[in-house]
């Protein structure tokens, strides 16, 4: 449930940012990259004008046949929520259900057709903000809360990895591009890190600072380090609640947490960013398997 919510929130932010940047640059082709990484659409569609932007957004939000569209992700989040109603607070269920009813309402679809896409997306993001705050104030801090958070922070790390994987090549080759600051600005806005970035590094955009912020900054709520720290604290709590036979899950996560604590941008550069990202993915897989083994695998 939380993974779907987190992923759809990321999608909405990305749509908003890319739409915004097309208003300045007119680069409608930029939708292709998003369609590829978020919707799994590999074939190149020629996006040439504003109307194409509107159609692409419509597709990513409302298309029923692609499992990665917003409407389908929210539907799945709601199905998940329905099946665990006894574990989650009533308020969380209502928040998700309302979101689902809104996005599947035909009138809402018509409303999209008539309105400014940014206003429309802002309205959808509000549902996510309500969801996050309702979960924070109403959900008991038991097993369910920890599992919800595992889903959320797993998804965040995966999104950050996507971000690093997809963009690094472009970033390195475009370092001295004229539109450099535009490009960076939009990229950072799409992950909600622009404000923190300019506060920390001022208006100077460079690859190293951005990588540092996304990987090991401990204050950025979307950095890998921040998310792994959160994974660790929720896994520790799960351990305390359930006292599993093996300590391996906590061990794996603690190891990953400490490796990130003692990483610096120069050590990442020394190992190579690709290796660094690969290692994160590898460790994450191990943690994910271990969660399955300990909490979901039924040993007959």
């Amino acid at each position: 449930m939380d993974r779907y919510m987190e992923r759809s929130y990321g999608l909405l932010n990305l749509i908003k940012t890319n739409y915004n940047s097309t208003l300045d640059t007119g680069d409608y082709q930029s939708w292709n990259g998003i369609l590829k990484s978020y919707m799994g659409i590999d074939k190149s569609i020629s996006n040439e004008n504003y109307q194409d932007s509107i159609s692409v957004i419509e597709y990513m939000i409302f298309n029923n046949s692609n499992p990665n569209t917003l409407i389908n992700m929210i539907t799945k989040a709601r199905e998940n929520a329905r099946s665990v109603q006894e574990h989650i607070s009533r308020e969380i269920w209502v928040a998700i259900n309302k979101y689902f009813l809104k996005i599947t309402d035909k009138k809402f679809y018509k409303y999209y057709k008539k309105n400014d896409p940014i206003d429309f997306i802002n309205e959808l993001t509000q549902f996510h903000h309500i969801y996050y705050s309702v979960a924070d104030i109403s959900q008991e801090r038991g097993n369910a809360f920890c599992f919800m958070n595992l889903g959320k922070y797993f998804e965040r790390i995966l999104q950050s990895i996507d971000f690093l994987n997809v963009k690094i090549d472009i970033l390195e080759s475009n370092e001295n591009n004229l539109n450099e600051s535009y490009f960076w600005k939009n990229l950072l806005i799409s992950i909600g890190g622009y404000q923190l970035y300019i506060k920390t590094y001022k208006s100077i955009f460079n690859v190293e600072n951005i990588i540092e912020m996304i990987t090991i900054n401990q204050f950025f709520p979307r950095s890998i380090k921040f998310s792994v720290d959160k994974l660790y604290s929720h896994i520790t709590r799960l351990n305390e609640f359930n006292k599993p036979e093996s300590n391996s899950l906590k061990f794996l996560t603690g190891k990953m947490k400490n490796e990130l604590t003692y990483s610096s941008i120069s050590s990442i550069k020394q190992d190579g960013l690709k290796n660094f990202v690969y290692k994160i993915q590898f460790d994450l897989n191990k943690i994910s398997n271990e969660i399955n083994n300990i909490y979901f695998y039924q040993n007959n």
Binding site: N20, T22, L23, D24, T25, G26, N49, Y50, S53, D116, I118, S181, Y182, K185, Q195, Y197, I198, K199, T200, K202, S203, I204
Partner: protein, 478 residues
């Protein structure tokens, strides 16, 4: 199409969108197409959308002497003002030339005073000027830059030629409105902005930060923005710029001077400040050196500045060059310091210290606009054409008392631009304030600027404090 057919131009004024015969100018052709396809209802809903946007974002300003409350939305007209790229190039080079000369002038005035010794500008005009700061004499300022941030007000005469109306070299405001206006028009005209290749302006805060940073020798200087506080009319702008640059917004009481260094009080203790982008006037900057009763400033900051421990932007004393009496001499400065002809001309201005010119002004007061030389924001002005006899007589007395404090200019014909007012298009007078940034690597002018509009019918006063509004300005490369 009705919208355009019913448009009646002001006589004897240059209209930005239509020529005298009512034919749409080339740069507005695509916009005309849009207007012909859209309904008044749609335009009105765009207007409502814009208004709501400004409300939600908190883009407000404060009007003095207003009983109804302090915060207002800056009136915004949705029809953009469009300028061709070729016209812009002339404006840009004209502004660069002007600021270079003005900066050299300020440096000269506070050092060798060649321009006074060569009798280009009368010395008494400087010495008696309240904007001349003796405290700045012989102070070496970083990179010899005094006018880091300036806003040059331009108008267009009936032939469409651009003239400089005023130089704003102290703390010119309006840049946040320029940025917000673009934010909203890109939403209102999402197809047109990329298609017309409207020159982007959103990089302004980064550019400003980098220009400020370039003034210091330190690798990572600490930059702060100094505001007079919440009740200042431009407070929104101060917060917006600080946020967009990622710097701290501070008030005087957040800073202190110790051993000639400026520090900022933070939760983690005192932190040295290297560069201050101040939005308070010279007079209030330092109670030890200027107005003793000022609580907005920081005691001893001028001493720190003198020692070169902190950089103030713009430099104190820069106001000497944007004084309205000095304005008349800017073309002379350009030829004196740069040996060039002005690219952008001045408006004909009468000096009231000159007896012949004063006699002319007093006889022809109904055709002239009179201004105080140290006034700004449209205060202290007399519009001869619309003033009552009583107002004129009062003003004449003031002139007799201190002629050096006043100048007169012919009643100007500003250019007009179509505005959406009560369900139809009407011409309204506009000016243009482009913003220029001067750092150690040179001058850059942000493409466009703030187009201010006099929203009252027939009015020439565009100042926000006097009921003016604004429009987005598009520099189109198409």
């Amino acid at each position: 199409m009705k919208l355009i057919q019913n448009y009646i131009q002001y006589p004897e004024m240059f209209d930005e969108m239509f020529d005298k015969k009512g034919i749409t100018r080339d740069i507005y052709k695509n916009f005309e197409k849009f207007l012909s396809k859209t309904s008044v209802k749609n335009l009105n809903s765009m207007k409502d959308f814009a208004q709501q946007f400004f409300m939600n974002q908190g883009v407000t300003f404060t009007v003095y002497d207003d009983d109804q409350g302090v915060e207002k939305i800056f009136p915004f007209d949705i029809i953009p003002r469009i300028i061709s790229y070729s016209d812009w190039k002339i404006i840009e080079s004209g502004i660069k030339q002007r600021i270079t000369a003005l900066n050299l002038f300020i440096r000269d005035i506070y050092h060798e005073q060649f321009i006074l010794n060569d009798n280009i500008i009368p010395a008494e005009l400087i010495i008696s000027n309240p904007n001349y700061l003796r405290e700045m004499r012989n102070i070496k300022v970083p990179n010899d830059i005094y006018t880091h941030i300036s806003g040059i007000d331009l108008i267009r005469n009936e032939e469409g030629k651009f003239f400089v109306l005023e130089d704003n070299l102290r703390t010119p405001s309006g840049v946040s409105y320029m940025l917000e206006n673009r934010e909203i028009t890109r939403r209102l005209f999402p197809e047109m902005i990329p298609r017309e290749k409207v020159q982007p302006i959103s990089d302004y805060p980064n550019l400003l930060y980098n220009k400020l940073k370039s003034l210091s020798n330190k690798k990572n200087p600490v930059v702060v923005m100094l505001t007079p506080g919440l009740y200042n009319s431009a407070y929104y702008e101060h917060t917006a710029l600080a946020r967009l640059m990622g710097v701290e917004l501070v008030e005087g009481s957040d800073l202190l001077v110790d051993n000639h260094y400026v520090f900022m009080k933070t939760a983690g203790g005192l932190k040295t400040v290297d560069i201050i982008y101040r939005r308070i006037d010279d007079d209030f900057l330092d109670p030890l050196n200027f107005k003793a009763e000022s609580v907005l400033g920081i005691a001893g900051i001028m001493d720190s500045y003198r020692q070169g421990n902190v950089i103030l932007v713009n430099s104190p004393g820069a106001g000497i060059a944007d004084d309205k009496a000095i304005y008349t001499y800017v073309p002379d400065m350009i030829s004196y310091y740069l040996n060039e002809k002005p690219i952008l001309d001045n408006i004909k201005t009468y000096k009231l210290t000159n007896k012949d010119e004063k006699d002319y002004v007093l006889k022809n007061i109904d055709k002239l606009v009179l201004k105080r030389t140290d006034g700004s924001g449209g205060y202290g002005m007399l519009m001869g054409k619309s003033a009552t006899k009583e107002e004129i007589n009062k003003y004449k007395l003031k002139i007799e008392k201190e002629p050096e404090m006043y100048i007169a200019q012919p009643t100007l014909n500003l250019s007009t631009s179509p505005c959406l007012i009560e369900n139809s298009l009407h011409p309204r007078c506009v000016d243009l304030r482009p913003f220029a940034l001067f750092g150690s690597d040179g001058i850059e002018v942000c493409p466009g600027g703030l187009s201010r509009v006099a929203l009252k019918k027939g009015s020439l006063i565009v100042n926000s404090s006097q009921g003016g509004g604004s429009k987005d300005t598009w520099i189109v490369k198409n």
